[in-house]
């Protein structure tokens, strides 16, 4: 049988595609990675089909590229490096279970934030999200990529909010990670009061950590549980403006130490403008009105004594602010805190906010500590100036992570995709800045595209170890080959 | 009791390593968080109290035989008892007793150190473990014109002890102490050259026979002399008299007091008036035998029974000494009574004080280790910002003195009595 026939035998002909348009769409994304067309796009609907698919891929040595979010894609991880079959999981959209008592949801990979949040709200829950994710963004895709969320206090471990998973490894073996592994079936576990909230294990291996951050190179997740939080009954967002980033940092540190606030992040004027405004002209105007730096913090009350909680938190935030000489406000020139919170906590309207300014955007992000952010920012500005790229076109997003132990530092380089010169300038700046930032000690923990080589040449020992892991879980290298160090 | 009698204690060690640290909630810094000098020195688990209990068990059960290493492990320990205090925060075990019995067994089996043999020879020939001639013993008191209790009665016997009797650097403290007592109107006498060792060091290094001999002799002598109180400036001696003499079951018709206790009483009674200011910032070192090792030995003989199924209880109930009732406050009261003196505490104090390093036969057998231990303590003293380290034991003083000479650390060293005298 031909590959297509094989696929149809597994998935049914309604779920196998090879139209030129679709293959062309998957051959590239918004990033600078080399274009490469897949041969087919397959849409499994359940775990059994996924497992059959992976076994087939092993038999036929066919690369599989799992994709759970809809377009546009930005990281290059969904572009096949060596051809193969796109495994589109967007059709697996079941919200299998929401358990209010244990604040957990079990979902399939195709469930988006836009689909999940309303269902969680019905149960009085919410899931911490990245800032205004795109509409087509898969929740599990985001979790598997370790995308930062905007509520650092809920991130006990960088793996949060991902909990247990069901996975088909690259070998074709089915497995469940964390306490979902057993003993007992899911039904047995639910009957005993378990809710798949402990992601660790089973026993002496944290299997889920080998899948998370792997860009689909270990296996394919067929469902996962995610850690949900209480939906606030009351929220009081505040904005703290400053011309100097340094003036905000100690304030932020103290909030993290005192565990004040839910949402806590820092945006520069361009990014804040892009989140709030609808088009390029509006963004430009708003950017020029807004202060250079804005810290967003929101205090909240939940089901229990919400007013009292907001009241004490707000007063405590003000006390801290006074100590550090900053002024939290409900509105600043150009923005109201409530609008900002609304925008950040909602799935982005179209076009996706990062694309509104110029139509295209290339992100550089890495982990550091908050106190080092100014030196990285300063360097990027210098390099942009040297490259003739306007600093005012750089969006900056700082997100405390792991309850303040680390900080996601992100630079968004907008460009007009139809302007070849600009694209090339941005591409070069992207590469040069990435290289410089990594040499300055920026930790590129999510090594997409060209970052992979940079990261693994710095940390060769990790590459060696990861290859051993790869050899175990995907010995035939069918899972998204060519990514990371594989 | 014998080593075998403690077999259950050895078996029940849970290897928690608490014997290596002060009681956990008393740890105040990483720097001064150890309490066992031989563990810090030796590092292998065998150097801890728990380790020695295991070694004792292994020896009893025939799993191991004597080696140089075993003997070294047994004797490279000041027997300061901090381990015992820490263990007993949670357990009803007697690690220090096990270690004492282990030493006694080693001596019985002829596994002794040459340096200790020298001490015992000296004891046997001259009633002191320092190698000094007995005839010289009373010379420290020449010219004092103090009663000799071998010839006259006195209410209070001042027991100088071997170290104060013979150590020419320290003798003046004993002299000053006697003067002080007389100044306060105390009817004090001494034994002069008839004074004999308390036997404490012999006990610590496992020579039970020698210890018993001296204990019996001293008790009989002092009972016969009719003294009401035996006062000593030597913490080691104090600990021996108060804590270990009860082991031999002979009635003591006298009270035993350390000089700091006695001086504290005199100050309370108004018999000593401290009027001169001594502007000095000091820190006080708790000698092991004045502190945690001064509680009287409580003999116990009985069996173990089970209640509540498997809860092991001793019948009759066994009372454990945990160092709680050591002499900690009297020296501090005395120091606090001195006008102008500022007392600051080290991190490891009272029941969980770090040892000076001299005891247990270590000064004699492992002098480097003794000095190292003292240097560690001196560093702790200096970390308080104190100008002076004060203590109440001549063995501590000798060892600190030697360590200061070697390290040239800039901190003064005093006995409590010296500072008190300055205030009179």
């Amino acid at each position: 049988m031909s590959p297509k026939e094989d696929l149809i035998a597994i998935l049914g002909d309604a779920n196998v595609f090879d139209t030129a348009e679709l293959l062309e769409a998957y051959s590239r994304d918004e990033s600078f990675v080399r274009h490469m067309k897949p041969q087919y796009v397959a849409r499994p609907q359940n775990t059994e089909e996924v497992q059959e698919l992976v076994k087939w891929a092993n038999r036929t040595a066919t690369p599989l590229i799992p994709v759970s979010s809809g377009p546009p894609h930005f990281r290059g991880d969904t572009v096949p490096s060596l051809g193969g079959v796109i495994v589109e999981l967007t059709g697996m959209k079941r919200i299998i279970r929401i358990n209010r008592r244990n604040r957990v949801a079990m979902i399939e990979p195709g469930v988006t934030f836009a689909e999940l949040q309303p269902e969680l709200e019905k149960e009085g829950l919410r899931l911490p999200m990245p800032p205004c994710p795109r509409r087509s963004k898969s929740v599990l895709g985001s979790c598997l990529e370790r995308e930062p969320t905007i509520i650092p206090k809920y991130q006990w471990d960088i793996s949060d909010p991902l909990l247990c998973t069901e996975v088909v490894f690259g070998t074709g073996d089915l497995f469940r990670t964390g306490e979902a592994a057993g003993p007992g079936s899911l039904e047995d576990q639910w009957a005993s009061g378990q809710a798949q909230t402990n992601p660790m294990g089973p026993f002496q291996v944290d299997f889920f950590r080998l899948i998370q951050g792997a860009q689909g190179t270990t296996g394919i997740i067929t469902w996962a549980t995610v850690k949900c939080e209480l939906l606030p009954r009351l929220q009081k967002p505040l904005l703290v403006a400053s011309r100097r980033l340094e003036d905000l940092l100690d304030f932020a540190y103290r909030l993290l130490w005192a565990r004040l606030g839910d949402e806590l992040l820092i945006l520069n004027s361009l990014n804040l403008a892009a989140i709030l405004a609808e088009d390029r002209d509006e963004i430009k105007a708003l950017r020029d009105t807004l202060p250079q730096w804005v810290l967003v913090v929101c205090v909240a009350g939940y089901e229990r004594l919400p007013r009292e909680r907001v009241e004490y938190q707000e007063k405590d935030v003000m006390d801290v602010a006074q100590r550090f000489g900053v002024e939290p406000q409900i509105a600043i020139p150009g923005a109201r805190a409530s609008d900002v919170l609304e925008a950040l906590s909602t799935v982005s309207a179209e076009p996706y906010w990062k694309l509104r300014y110029k139509g295209g955007c290339h992100d550089i992000f890495f982990l550091t500590t908050l106190d080092r952010a100014p030196e990285f920012i300063s360097r990027v500005y210098q390099m942009a100036a040297a490259a003739g790229y306007p600093g005012t076109d750089i969006g900056i997003y700082l997100q405390p992570q792991i309850q303040g132990r680390a900080c996601h530092c992100e630079f968004n380089l907008s460009c007009d995709p139809s302007n070849a010169k600009e694209v090339e300038k941005v591409r070069q700046l992207f590469l040069d800045a990435s290289s410089e930032l990594i040499s300055m000690g920026g930790f590129f923990s999510r090594p997409y595209g060209p970052w992979a080589e940079m990261a693994y040449s710095r940390d060769g020992q990790s590459a060696v170890a990861l290859k051993k892991v790869k050899e175990i879980f995907d010995p035939n290298n069918v899972m998204n080959p060519g990514k990371l160090c594989f | 009791m014998t080593l075998l009698d403690y077999r259950n204690d050895m078996q029940r060690c849970s290897r928690c390593s608490l014997c290596k640290w002060p009681p956990l909630s008393q740890i105040k810094s990483w720097r001064f968080s150890n309490v066992c000098p031989s563990m810090v020195w030796g590092n292998f688990h065998a150097y801890s109290a728990g380790g020695r209990m295991i070694a004792a068990l292994a020896l009893l059960d025939g799993r191991i035989d004597y080696t140089d290493k075993l003997v070294e492990i047994v004797y490279r320990c000041q027997m300061g008892g901090a381990c015992d205090v820490s263990c007993k925060v949670n357990r009803d075990l007697d690690p220090l007793e096990v270690m004492l019995e282990l030493r006694a067994k080693c001596v019985e089996d002829g596994q002794v150190l040459p340096a200790h043999m020298v001490m015992i020879e000296s004891l046997r020939s001259d009633d002191n473990a320092l190698g000094e001639p007995k005839a010289e013993r009373g010379k420290w008191a020449e010219g004092l014109e103090v009663k000799d209790i071998t010839r006259e009665k006195a209410e209070v016997l001042y027991f100088a002890g071997c170290r104060y009797s013979f150590d020419r650097d320290l003798q003046r403290i004993a002299r000053e102490t006697v003067k002080l007592l007389r100044m306060a109107g105390v009817d004090v006498g001494i034994s002069g050259k008839e004074e004999a060792c308390c036997g404490g060091r012999a006990f610590e290094i496992g020579y039970r026979g020698e210890f018993t001999k001296y204990a019996e002799h001293n008790i009989e002598t002092w009972n016969a002399a009719g003294v009401r109180t035996v006062v000593t400036s030597c913490a080691d001696g104090y600990g021996t008299l108060r804590s270990d003499y009860p082991r031999i079951g002979k009635t003591m018709n006298f009270e035993v007091m350390h000089i700091t206790e006695y001086l504290d009483r005199l100050i309370e009674e108004g018999r000593l008036k401290l009027t001169k200011s001594v502007p000095l910032r000091v820190t006080y070192h708790d000698p092991c035998h004045l502190g945690r090792l001064s509680e009287p030995y409580i003999p116990w003989e009985g069996v173990e029974k089970k209640v509540l199924g498997q809860v092991v209880v001793k019948d009759p109930p066994k009372e454990f000494r945990r160092g709680t009732n050591g002499i900690y406050e009297p020296p501090r009261h005395v120091l606090s009574s001195i006008p102008g003196l500022q007392l600051v505490e080290m991190e490891r104090i009272k029941e969980y004080a770090w040892c000076c390093g001299a005891g247990g036969g270590v000064k004699e057998a492992y002098p480097d280790f003794a000095l190292w231990t003292a240097t560690e303590r001196i560093e702790e003293a200096m970390a308080t910002g104190a100008e002076a380290l004060v203590t109440a034991c001549p063995w501590c003083e000798r060892n600190f003195k030697d360590a200061l000479e070697q390290s040239k650390a800039k901190i003064k060293l005093y006995d409590v009595v010296e500072l008190l005298l300055e205030a009179l």
């Binding site: 471990d157 003993p183 005192a258 004490y312 | 068990l57 949670n90 357990r91 209640v307 809860v311």
Partner: protein, 525 residues
Amino acid sequence: MGLRRDSYRVLEGIVGPQNISEDPVILDTYAFQWLAETISGTKFAARPEAVLLPGSTEEVQAVIKTCNRYGIRYKAFSTGWGPWNTVGGEGVVQLDLRRMNRILDVDAKNMYAVVEPYVIGAQLQVEAMKRGLNCHIIGAGSNTSILASATSMAGYGLSGIFMGYSGCNVLAVEWVLPTGEILRLGSLGSGAGWFCGDGPGPSLRGVMRGFIGALGGLGVFTKCAVKLYPWYGPATIPMEGIRPLDGMPIPESFRVHSLTFPSWEALADAVYRIGEAEIGYVVGRALPPGMIPVLNVSSSAEYAQMLQMVTRAGVMDEFKYCIQTILGASSARELEYQERALEEIMSETGGTIIASMEEASVREVLFRALIKVEGIARVFQLAGTFATSLGAGTSWDAAVASGKLGEQLKRKYIEQGAIADDGGDLAWGGAYQHCRFGHLEEIIMYDFQDAESLKGADDYVAESAQAAVEKSLGQPISIVPGMAEHFGPTSFNYHIWMRKIKKAFDPGMTADPSFYIEAEQPPGK
């Protein structure tokens, strides 16, 4: 057996002659262990061939490379409390990491510390408190190694409501692999610092450990960074007294209460609500009813008397469904909020504050015991030793179910007289990360010197492990050799994957696998 002289000389050359020994007395002090009788029937498990005290990562690496060259197995430990520290059989050298004892950094701003293996909780805590921070300390006590708990063991502690679980608190790690290469996890490997243990790409923390660590089976961890957490009290707190414990003065920013509920269900509800309200600094069952008397008695006889007395007087009923709580807050307003929230929760669930535990001196003792995490070793006091059972890390409801099951299963063994009659309920544990998961382990006390008691304890542990499987209450936490082989088949054969990991990372099979897994399946299994 003994090491070959040439290999011994090489090892001696690495660590120095004073830091290696094969003297039997030294070896036996490493063979002796709590619970060794569960492995060998006596207090002594296997003797190592030699004990080494490496002083640096370089020495550890050189030792491991030497072991690989000569085919010698090795097993490292930090403080070494528990039978999983012992070597698995003949031919294994023990690495005692005691000399690697430094706190390398306390980054107060970014709230993490970098430590070597022999730093214990008590040390890190006092240094952290000077900077307004605290560290998560496991229930076994602050005499345990921070690094060992984070990299190699488990990590339950009742501060977990606020400070999580050791396995989640680890950031970057310096790891000498079984083959002798040094792997630096996360940001450390990229030369970026210690703040993150994950990446680039997937996280090798996943290989390092799972819910439980590799217990020496995957090389040696020589440094790690751990999260620190806010401490809302003063930099130092003076306290007096050792035993009986005096209390620790309770700073203004804390409140201490013992709470009781009308049923397990009410207790479960209350803890869930405490988690949701995001209150609590220490919450859990530190003192299950059978342990309440231990707080201030001086002997096991007194314990027995007191337990009988309070049981007869019905006093223990009050403690039947109890938890101990410490509230801690960064401001007076927050504390007031926490107290109000707790009051409401109590009212909703029928909970009350236990009046007899409200006396200031009692609360101060409890505060000290829970913040300093000392006194837990008393569980050895009564019968000579203890064992644990059930206790999987799971949802709080399932944890409570484990607590109920344990009490039920223990009854038979108490009635037989095989284990101590502690009242039946010694379920210890709590809810972590604001009740995202929790555990209750059922403790039994027994006399290992009594053959019937030892058998009863073994039988109970086996029976409860089987029950945990049958009732889907997660894999129990009592750790014995061969667990992966035993439980793997109940959970997607994870043991097969573990074996592959072992083989890949330790092709020379030199890291002692006795508490991890052998690279080859033993015959007959």
